[in-house]
């Protein structure tokens, strides 16, 4: 959100200056900052109506009380105290919420690292090795194929492949590499990470590709002329210039994985805790304030991660 507003704000002075030279009389009446507000206005309104206001409601409800069948609009910290139940009493054992977040963060880190690695090289290939624009287009569209089927079907499709009697296991057994089917292929952290990577690498590819395609090819030639090896060019030229794409892609992947409960649920055999899963269970039990409290906690943690990332790279500046 910030970024798009920022683009508008950065660009608008140029636009205003352009019109100043053409029609000086009109431009004098509308101040540049007013035009900027006007340009950012529609997006801001949408943002306000569909994001900020609902979010405020979530925060308010998280401090309400509830019973079996309704919300009680009286101040109560119950949603939060219940959530952190046992966090001090159970020490040194971890409480439910701490365990859940540790697991979620671990999955998140793994998925982020793998999608970044794969996404970076796919984007690199598309940007620097595929010369024709048509092919670049076609190949990036290919990356969207995982999105052509429904979430559930896509995940159910893993069972015949990774299951106890699945293709991978029967293949390994036939080659004699294993005697017993490997159980950790499915309904495990492995399968969760696999499915998430399969789904979300695309969100890494697009922004990184977008950053890379904008790198001036003459910079790479210059590096080559100056005697840089391929590796040096990569580390000193391409990666720094692709950083905004890397950060944006990372934000996409991290926010999605932090809130995911469907993929983790199905691929983890519903046995792996996830921050989103807690919210789902609470909502299904009609305990909306507790669900809202968990949503606020999830939001705060995700926000902290993103703030840390934008500390490393100033996206506003880079764009």
């Amino acid at each position: 959100m910030d970024t798009s507003e920022d683009i508008l704000q950065q660009r608008s002075p140029d636009l205003v200056r352009g019109s100043e030279t053409a029609r000086p009389a009109k431009a004098a009446r509308l101040s540049p900052s007013f035009i900027s507000w006007l340009q950012a206005g529609p997006m801001m309104l949408v943002f306000l109506a569909f994001f900020l206001i609902p979010l405020v409601f979530v925060v308010i409800v998280s401090f309400w009380d509830y019973n079996e069948y309704q919300l009680l609009p009286a101040f109560s910290g119950r949603g939060y105290t219940d959530t952190f139940e046992g966090c001090i009493a159970q020490l040194p054992d971890l409480c439910t919420i701490a365990k859940t977040y540790l697991k979620t963060l671990k999955l998140c880190f793994l998925v982020w690292a793998i999608t970044l690695f794969i996404g970076f090289w796919v984007a690199y290939f598309l940007a620097f090795h595929v010369k024709s624009k048509t092919w670049q287009m076609g190949l990036s569209l290919l990356c969207t194929i995982p999105f052509w089927t429904s979430n559930v079907i896509r995940m159910i499709a893993w069972i015949p492949l990774l299951g106890r009697n699945g293709l991978v296991n029967s293949g390994l057994m036939k080659t004699g590499l294993i005697n017993q089917p490997v159980e950790w292929l499915l309904f495990s952290e492995f399968s969760v990470v696999l499915a998430l990577v399969h789904l979300f690498t695309f969100f890494m590819v697009v922004p990184i590709f977008n950053s890379m395609i904008r790198i001036d090819k003459s910079l790479i030639e210059a590096a080559y002329d100056a005697g840089a090896t391929g590796f040096q060019t990569l580390v000193n030229v391409i990666i720094p210039l692709a950083k905004p794409g890397i950060v944006i892609g990372s934000i996409f992947v991290i926010t999605i994985v932090m809130g995911d409960f469907i993929t983790i649920g199905v691929m983890g055999g519903q046995q792996i805790a996830a921050a989103g899963k807690i919210i789902e269970t609470r909502v299904n039990a009609l305990q909306f304030p507790a669900a809202a409290a968990n949503a606020v906690i999830l939001l705060v943690i995700t926000f902290l991660i993103i703030t840390m990332m934008s500390r490393i790279v100033d996206i506003k500046k880079e764009l």
């Binding site: 079996e68 159910i156 309904f187 055999g269 046995q271 805790a273 269970t281 009609l286």
Partner: protein, 429 residues
């Protein structure tokens, strides 16, 4: 909203009357030849919120044919049905929901009880609901939210369940069943007779339960009781200590790798069983049927500790009144009149009014599904596909044996909030 639509409807109709009176006459004459409702000016439409269990296309088609009421299904999961009643009570007319959710729905005031006097077959509803016993007189287990505990309200707008029969019925029963564990006899290769087998280390990594807390904990309680670790006063209404104990047993099993996966959705349970990922798991009757129709051996295994049962029924939204309420009664009466009951019985569920369903089934079908006798002919599903070859016997046997063997009912506990938290802890363990 309805006011305005009605008004425009009327004015449009008057307009139509003036300009196309002949067409009206044609429609009228059509009524005599046997298509009375299709031509009717104001279509009778009911929005029907429920789970997929009762929502067959055949049922709605037959209903339109017989009564002229067009049913618009709104399908949701059990949890989402409850959520919708709470948050959008005006988004449906007829509600088909489970008895255990009444503890939440009735106090919310979002649903209306139906008048027993307007239900033609009310006195013929199986005594399972009204008395807690089978037609043959067997007493049924009353742990949990048994339907007869929540069947009547004290008054029209009362929020208190009545202990004695009144004319205000919370839910007119539609469908119910007795659930147990499903097993793969071809992979287990020995008889299974107790719920405790679910935690038998022999099936390590090959067991599953369902991940709907309020139902899952009941299955867990059946297991705990079967292992002899504890005897509950009421499995459907545990104390905090009992919840802790139950979850502790389950957590230990989970940590030891007993469970392959938990399932939440009908198709998930079918997949787990059919693919051999699990060999023993809590299951629903039609899911077992589906696995079997794939040519894979699967038994809905009767167990000595008994069944966990569930039941659902009809009520209406508080927003329903006038003509719409009449249609709702007409629809509920039609539902109990036999066609739908026979349809449900043929899927392995049970219908509320047995006599009318029987009249709509072939004698050999009734003998197989309800009397536990070997099938005289091939048994077919409502869609015509083959379910069982001649000679097969239904798992668990007759209606008397199955419903009479019910030990507890799906429930919402007083400590529901605590239980949900503990369930999350169990998943995180």
């Amino acid at each position: 909203m309805t006011e305005t639509t009605k008004k425009t409807g009327v004015s449009r109709r008057t307009l139509l009357k003036g300009t196309a009176g002949l067409a009206g006459l044609a429609a009228g004459s059509g009524a005599i030849t046997g298509f009375p409702y299709v031509m009717s000016a104001e279509p009778k439409v009911l929005r029907y919120l429920g789970t997929a269990v009762n929502e067959g296309d055949d049922i709605s088609k037959q209903c339109l044919k017989d009564t002229g009421i067009k049913i618009e299904y709104i399908t949701a999961t059990t949890d989402d049905v409850t959520k919708r009643v709470m948050t959008q009570p005006n988004s449906f007319d007829v509600l088909d929901t489970e008895y255990f959710s009444l503890k939440k729905l009735v106090p919310s005031g979002n649903i209306l009880a139906l008048d027993a006097k307007k239900i033609k077959e009310f006195d013929n509803i199986t005594p399972v609901f009204t008395k807690g016993e089978t037609p043959g007189g067997k007493k049924i287990g009353n742990q949990g939210t048994a339907p007869w505990k929540v069947l009547y309200l004290e008054g029209k707008d009362s929020k208190t369940f009545s202990k004695t029969a009144t004319e205000f019925v919370t839910l007119i029963p539609t469908v119910y069943n007795a659930d147990t564990l499903g097993i793969r006899p071809d992979l287990i290769k020995r008889p299974i007779s107790s719920w405790s087998e679910l935690l038998n280390p022999e099936f390590k990594g090959k067991a599953s339960i369902l991940n709907i807390p309020s139902i899952g904990i009941m299955d867990a309680a059946m297991v705990v009781e079967a292992t002899g670790k504890y005897k509950y006063a009421d499995k459907g209404n545990m104390t905090k200590e009992e919840i802790d104990l139950t979850m502790k047993v389950m957590t230990e099993a989970k940590k030891a790798g007993q469970f392959r996966a938990f399932w939440k959705d009908f198709n998930e349970s079918v997949n787990l069983m059919a693919s051999g990922e699990t060999v023993i798991q809590s299951m629903w009757s039609p899911a077992v049927t589906k696995v079997r129709s794939m040519g894979i051996a699967c038994t809905f295994q009767p167990l000595k500790e008994g069944y966990r049962s569930w039941a659902s029924g009809f009520c209406v939204s508080k927003g329903v009144s006038g003509a719409k309420l009449d249609w709702a009664y007409e629809f509920v009466n039609w539902f109990l009149s036999g066609y739908a009951g026979a349809y449900l019985n043929r899927q392995g569920y049970y219908s509320a009014v047995l006599s009318t369903a029987k009249a709509n089934m072939e004698p050999y079908e009734w003998a197989y599904w309800m009397e536990g006798k070997p099938a005289e002919k091939d048994i077919k599903a409502p869609d015509g596909s083959l379910l069982e070859k001649a000679g097969a016997v239904r798992d668990g046997g007759s209606y008397e044996d199955r419903m009479g063997g019910v030990a507890c009912w799906n429930a919402v506990m007083d400590e529901n909030d605590y239980m949900v938290r503990k369930w999350n802890e169990f998943i995180a363990a």
